[in-house]
């Protein structure tokens, strides 16, 4: 299987009052066709920045460097903005958290949805095209599991529940059959039932249309079983990446292990006992530790951790730690 998205050592630097800060520090990510990849990171880990860098929502003040930022056979960093927008518009789509707040509150959802259907896919003369547009919009809503399409098309975002609004935004995202869908915390603050519906829908879309999905979440509990691979990011540094099942069962990195324990995956955990946790708080942008940024909070940190560890590779499983939980022979 070939990678359609290939990111090697992506670094994003920001100018702050405390000098230049690397918000993303040498992040690598590969995404194969039709694959669901979950990116897990706490707040401030730069996971949304990564999504923005892929989509090209770039603030001119950011300094982006990468050994490789390739989408299929295009080098995204070498393209000019016009070409880049064309490729992004054709192949990628993104959904966000809080759908109710980013849909246009003044426009009926039907109009917003009709707008997203590309002109090139409609045939016929003016009136026929217009009618086709509505038919296609309805079909899109059916595809995301909304039965009463007409009612939804005639309502404003505030009149719908969060789950339905998120489904509409997914419909808008898949209107032009993108190859890559980036879901940036699509279900934060939703109740479990709605959340499961959204996840099931995304998994189904990926399976039926071969769409790759980059799912960005905060929490290990929202990693879905359909996700083949996952990565953990902490403060802009890649901690561990590999097949989901491997990471969940045999983590190499202390951070992954801590996250697993904090997410109640430990079955032997006795109720009412203290939860294992990382000490301290997530560092702010101005006070990033040098070397491995988990250092000050890591239970296994030692002197060597002031140098950033390189990625070690065990089969498909990669991690960046000097003192992994399972001893391995490193080849480099």
């Amino acid at each position: 299987m070939s990678n359609i998205l290939d990111i090697r050592n992506l670094t994003i630097e920001l100018e702050t009052s405390a000098g230049t800060v690397k918000v993303l520090d040498k992040l690598s990510l590969q995404l194969a066709e039709g694959e669901i990849h979950t990116l897990v990171g706490e707040s401030g880990s730069g996971k949304s920045l990564l999504a923005k860098a892929i989509m090209g929502f770039i603030n001119p003040r950011w300094k982006i460097t990468a050994d490789r930022l390739w989408w299929r056979h295009y080098d995204l960093l070498a393209l000019n903005p016009v070409q880049r927008r064309m490729i992004t518009g054709r192949d990628m789509a993104m959904i966000f958290q809080n759908p109710g707040s980013y849909l246009d509150p003044n426009t009926k959802l039907g109009n917003q949805l009709r707008e997203t259907i590309p002109q090139s896919e409609l045939k016929g003369i003016y009136l026929r095209r217009k009618a086709n547009r509505t038919v296609r919009a309805e079909r899109l809503l059916h595809r995301v599991g909304i039965k009463d399409a007409e009612k939804v098309m005639n309502s404003y975002p505030h009149q719908l529940s969060e789950g339905v609004a998120q489904k509409v935004s997914i419909a808008m995202a898949i209107a032009h059959n993108p190859k890559l869908l980036i879901a940036d915390e699509p279900t934060t603050a939703m109740e479990p039932n709605t959340r499961n519906q959204i996840y099931r829908l995304l998994a189904k879309l990926s399976a039926s249309q071969g769409m790759s999905i980059l799912m960005i979440t905060q929490d290990l509990t929202s990693v879905i079983p359909e996700s083949q691979r996952m990565s953990l990011v902490y403060c802009g540094q890649l901690m561990e990446t590999g097949p989901t099942e491997k990471i969940m069962t045999e983590p190499f990195h202390p951070y992954t292990d801590a996250m697993l324990q904090m997410s109640f995956f430990n079955k032997e955990l006795v109720p009412k006992t203290r939860l294992p946790t990382l000490t301290g708080a997530i560092p702010t942008l101005q006070h990033m530790p040098i070397g491995c940024r988990l250092g000050p909070r890591c239970p296994k940190s030692r002197r060597a951790c002031i140098h950033q560890p390189r990625l070690s590779k065990v089969k498909q499983h990669q991690f960046a730690c000097h003192f992994p939980l399972i001893e391995v022979e490193t080849h480099d």
């Binding site: 109740e191 479990p192 079983p225 045999e250 904090m262 109640f264 708080a281 997530i282 399972i326």
Partner: protein, 266 residues
Amino acid sequence: MTDLLEVRNISKYYSYKNGWLTPQRVCALEPISFSVKRGETIAIMGETGSGKSTIAKLISGAEVPSSGEIFLNGELLDPNNHQQRCREIRMIFQDSLRSLNPQLTIGKQLLESLLFNTKWSAAEQQEHVYVTLQKVGLLPDHFDFYPHMLSSGQQQRVCIARAIILEPQIIVADEAFAALDPSIRAQIINLILDLQEDMGISFIFASHSPEIVKHVADKILIMHRGKMIEFDSTQALLTNPKQQLTKMLLQSEQLNKALKHTTTQE
């Protein structure tokens, strides 16, 4: 042993005008009764709009019930006696930054509740704030900080400090864990468990997360459309749920089913 808190047939209706002379009533909570023992933790679960937050608001006195009474230690709580209510029952909210006053320092916000509810001298009050800050894992130095200068975890700690500063008997939390990062959330849960052990506080919280509920709660109250459909100990509900909804709400996330996870030992 008498129950610490007893809720008897409490209900809440909201009325609004619908056109000309036709007042409409919406039932947010149908009459429910339950009781809480000292040091016990009760979780309220349910879908959106099921009346979880209404219960929390009624117990903490933020809203006046349409009918029914609340007894604390066998004594009737007057809905209009705010001083008694806020000394014994305190509340924590979901969004910590928005529930703190951005214009006051942390210390001043904590002092406020002492100012209105105790007859201590200024020095005693200040000392008590320092002690409380240390109890929740902050430093006395945080007295002069403004809320925006703290991280989200520290802000939530301040909210907890504000809740325990009057040494209440009951703390009510409405989705206090939902918006926190996993590592911070675990710290806050530990903090609440510690405080509960030290001070014998009863804790009533509304939550979506089945994992947290299973870990923290002694009893679970399941709400559906303003009705209480089940109320039993966590163990009983986990092993033998009577309602389909209970089963659904307590079911862990999908991944738990898909993966037989065993955490690695070092």
